[in-house]
Symmetry: C2
Subunit: 565 residues, 2 copies
Amino acid sequence: MFYHELNSKIDYTRTNLRWNAWGANDQDFGRKAQMPQILELLKREFQLDTIRETPAVALEDIHLPKSKLSPADLKNLSSFVGKNNLKVDRFERVFHSAGRSYYDVLRLHTNKLKSFVDAVVYPQKDSEIIKILEYCSKNKISIIPFGGGSSVVGGLEVIKGKGQKAVLSLDTTRMAEILSIDPISLTATIQAGIYGPKLEHELNLKRYTLGHFPQSFEYSTLGGWVAARSAGQQSNRYGKIEEIIASAKLISPSGVVETLRAPAASIGPDWNQIIAGSEGLLGIITEVTVKLHKIPETRKYFGLVFPEIRSSLNFIRKANHAEIKTSMLRLSDANETRLYEYLGQLGKKNTPIRILKNLIQNAVLKLKGLEEGKKCVVLVGLDGSRLDVARSFEALKPLWQKAGALYAGEKLGQNWIHGRFNMPYLRNHIMQFGMGVDTMETSTTYDRLEDLHQAGLEALEASIPGSKAMCHLSHSYHDGACLYYTILFPMDEKKPEEQWLKMKKKVSDTFANHKAPISHHHGVGFDHKSWYQNALGKTGVAGLNGLKKVLDQKEVLNPGKLFHS
Amino acid sequence: MFYHELNSKIDYTRTNLRWNAWGANDQDFGRKAQMPQILELLKREFQLDTIRETPAVALEDIHLPKSKLSPADLKNLSSFVGKNNLKVDRFERVFHSAGRSYYDVLRLHTNKLKSFVDAVVYPQKDSEIIKILEYCSKNKISIIPFGGGSSVVGGLEVIKGKGQKAVLSLDTTRMAEILSIDPISLTATIQAGIYGPKLEHELNLKRYTLGHFPQSFEYSTLGGWVAARSAGQQSNRYGKIEEIIASAKLISPSGVVETLRAPAASIGPDWNQIIAGSEGLLGIITEVTVKLHKIPETRKYFGLVFPEIRSSLNFIRKANHAEIKTSMLRLSDANETRLYEYLGQLGKKNTPIRILKNLIQNAVLKLKGLEEGKKCVVLVGLDGSRLDVARSFEALKPLWQKAGALYAGEKLGQNWIHGRFNMPYLRNHIMQFGMGVDTMETSTTYDRLEDLHQAGLEALEASIPGSKAMCHLSHSYHDGACLYYTILFPMDEKKPEEQWLKMKKKVSDTFANHKAPISHHHGVGFDHKSWYQNALGKTGVAGLNGLKKVLDQKEVLNPGKLFHS
C-alpha cells in the first residue's frame, strides 16, 4: 500500500531532464491535449489579438563561454571523484546554471543567461566532498551546491566569489541511499541527494511515510528541502521540513558539523535550525535523520465552497485554534477557484444533460449566496486512523456550516491528489506562446491575513498591466498562514526580463511593507536577498556572515546569496 | 477561572528572596512539619549513625571582595538607569553571583564561592540596555544577564572576560509587562523580565494560558526560559519554549536583532532558534512574542501503575506514536515511585482501617504482578475540551491495559498538581542536615531509552558510594524522551565540592558515551561546557563563536560559557 499515488518511475538520467523547462522529457502536462482550448481561454481572458509563438532557443545556440577551469584543475577534481563524475559538456553546464524560476527559464529561453558554471562534479562520499572543498578553497573556485535544481528564487544563480576564478556545481544526487531505519524511534537516516519519489517509495515499501510533498517533489532532493526550508502539501500534519529533521550532517571547508540524535535538547542555539535554511552557504548537507510516520490507515480529501474569502479564512483559523487534526487546509481565492473550475470543465462534452446539470448547480449555489467571482474553494485533507479522520470531519462540519459553506464532495479532493504535481508542466507550454507565469509566497499572522491577501493581488496586477493574479493559502498554523500567489501575464515582447524584475520588486516591497517574510518555503537565494537583509537587519545579517566566515574561510560556498555580501 | 492553582502572591522584593536557597522567605516546603520523619527516613535509608547539622554560613560572613568598579564607573552606570537601580550592597551582589544548582548553593553555604559580581544594574528600557552594553564594551566590564537566577548549570558563574576588569550583573526583572495580546492570532508580546506567576496570572485573567510550567516557574522569567531552552511540565501539549516563541528581540552590543512575526518562513537559518539557547552570550532578550492558548475547558490528571520500567516506557512511546493528545506523560521509575509513596504516607495516621486498606491494596498489586521495588507510576495529564479529554482517556486505556498497568485514580494527579512547585524547597531543609541532592537530565531516542536509564542510575550511584539515584521521564516526543535523574547522598564532610564534581563528571561522561545531549532543558552554562563542546565538535563551536564575535565584539557578554572559550 502506498501513501499517495506517486510517479516513482521517473528517469533522472541527466539527458532525460529538460535543461530549460520543468521535468523530464518523458513526463508532461496531463491536459496537453487541451492546450488549444487553454490558449483560447488565455487569448479571451487577456484580450489578446493573437497568440504569438515564442519558441525557446536551442541548447546548441546558448552562448556558453569556455570553462575557466584549467586542465590541471579538471584533472585534480576528477581525481577526487573519478573521471566519469566530473562533467564539462554543454548539457551538464547549462543544466546546472539555472533553477526553475520563471526568470531563470525565461533567460534560458531567450539566450539571456550570462553566467554559467565551469564544470559539474558528482561526489559520492563525504571524503570526496572534503577533498573538493579543500581544493576549491585553496584554488579560488566558487562552489554552488546542487540538489534537484528546482530553486525558484535564484538559489543557483551563478555568482563567482570576489577574487575567485571559476564556479563549480557540486551535484549531490549520487548520494541517494536510505542508510538506516529505526522502527522503534520512527526515524530514518538518509543521504541528502535522494529525490522525493525514491525516498517516499522506499519508505512506503516498509509501510512508512515521510509525508513531505512539496510542489517540486518529483524533481527536488531531501538536502535541497532542508537547505531551503521546504514545506510539503500536508504540512498541517507532518510539519515543514525543519520540523521533520531530527539531525543532520553538514560538511564545511573548516570541518564537519554533525548534530546529536536527540528528540529535544537544551544545548545552545539549535544547529539543526542553522543548517535548515543555509542554502548552500555553510556547507554541503550529506545526511539527514528524519522523523517517520506509519502510512495512515485512511484518508479523506474533500472540497468546501465558501461565499467569499473572509469566511474561508475564518474557517481555517478556527479549525487550527480548535486543534482539529488535519493534513491540509488549502484555500483557493475567488480568482484561483474560477481558473480551476475552468480547467475542470475542459475536455468534458457539453451534452444537454451536462448543461442542465450545470445550470441547476449554479442556481443552487447562487441561492446559497455562493456567487461566481466571489466564492472560494477550500480543499480539506485528512489522514490518519479511520476514527481520527471521522472525528476530524465531524469537528470541522459545524465550523464550515456556520461559515455558510457547502460540502462539495471528495471528487474535488481526489482530482487534486491525482494532479498535484502536474501544474508546473503547464508553464512549459504557455511560455511557448508568449505567456508568462510566476509564483511568489509569504506568510503572516491571522490578524493581517485578509489585508495582505488583497494587497498582494493589487501589487501584482498593478506591476504588470493586463495581468491576472490569484492566490491560495497552502499552509496554516496556530498563529497564521502562508499566502501563495500566481500571476499570469502576456510577456513583454521587448523587455521580458525588466517586466519580471519590476513585478518581483513591487510584490516583494508589498510583503516588506506588511512586515511579512520574503518567503514561506521557497527561500532567499539571490532574488530575495535585499528584502531578506532589510528585514533581518544588519546585525542579524552580519552575525550569520560571521558564522559563515568561520566555516568557509575562503568564502567559496554559494557566494553572493542570503547573508553573504 | 485559572488554569492551574498558582501562587501569584509571591513577593519578589529582593530582600524577601533567599540569597542562598530556593525561593522567598515567606514560602516553604509544604511538609515542613514532617521534616523530623523525613530525616529519620534518610538516616535509615542511608544507614547513617547520626544526622549531623550543617548550617549555612551567614550573609555577613561571606568572603565578599570589594567591588572592582571605580566610583566613576558606578556613577556612569547609575546615570543610565537612575541611582536606585544600580546596586552594590552585599545582599544584591551575593544574590546575583550564583544560581540554584546544588554546587552553587553548597558553595554559598560553606563560604567557598570565590567570584562575585561587582555591581547589579536594573534597566527598564531598551535604550538603557544599549547604553550599558556600550559602556561595558568600552570599559572592559563583563556582563552576566540575570533573569530569575534559577540556573542549575552554572549559567551565572561569575567569570571575568580576558583582560576585563569587573563583572556586572544585568537584572532584567524590571522589564515585566505584557505589552500586547493579539486575540485573532493568539499571540502576546511580553517583556522578557516577567516572572512565571505574573505572566500566567495576567493571561489567565483574559482566559488565555501560555501553558509553560517549568519546575522553576515561580522563580524564573520568560527571558530566562528562552535563553536556556526551558521545558514546561505540560510540554506534550504546549511544546518546549523554543516551540512557543513566535519572535524575539535581542539587544547585542553591535545592534538589535528583532525577528519577524510570521507563523513560519523560509528566510535562512532561524534566528529565533539562535536566540533560544543563547544563554546571555549574544545579547539581552528584552521582548518575546509567544503563542497563547485558550484555557482548556477541562483537565484530567491521573496515575497508572506499571509492573516495571520497560512496559511503562513502551506505553509512553505507543501513546506518542498513536498521536493521542496528552499534556503530560510523567513516568517515575521504581526508585522514585518508592520515594513518592513514602512521602505520600507521611502525616497520615495509621488507623486500623488504614493498615487493613494498605494490606489489601498491596495484596492486589502483588497479585497483578505490580511489586514493590519494580513498579513504576505514570502520571497522565490531559487538558482540552471535554470531548478531547474523554477521547484521549479512551484511546490510552487499551494501551495501558495491554501493558499490564492498573488505573490508580485522579487523586495522584491532583496531589501532583498541588505540590508541583514544592519539591525544590525540600533541599533547603535537608542541606541543613548533611544531605546533598542534585538533578541532571538528558534525552535520547526510544531505542536507547531503557539502556541509558539504567546506565545513568549506575553511573550516579557508582560516583558517590552510598548514594541513591532515581529517575523520571518528564517530557516525551515522537522519537524519544527526556530522562531526569535525582541523586540523594550524605555530603562528604571534608570535600563536598570534589564529591559533587566527581559525580557530575561521571554522569556527564555516561550521557556523552551514549551520544545523548548534556541537557534536555537545564542548559549548558559553565558546568556543562566541556561536554557540550565535545558533542558539538570544534567546527560547530567555532561557528557560534564567530557569530558571537560579530554581535559582541569586545566579548563582554557572559564570558567563558557555552561556545565562548
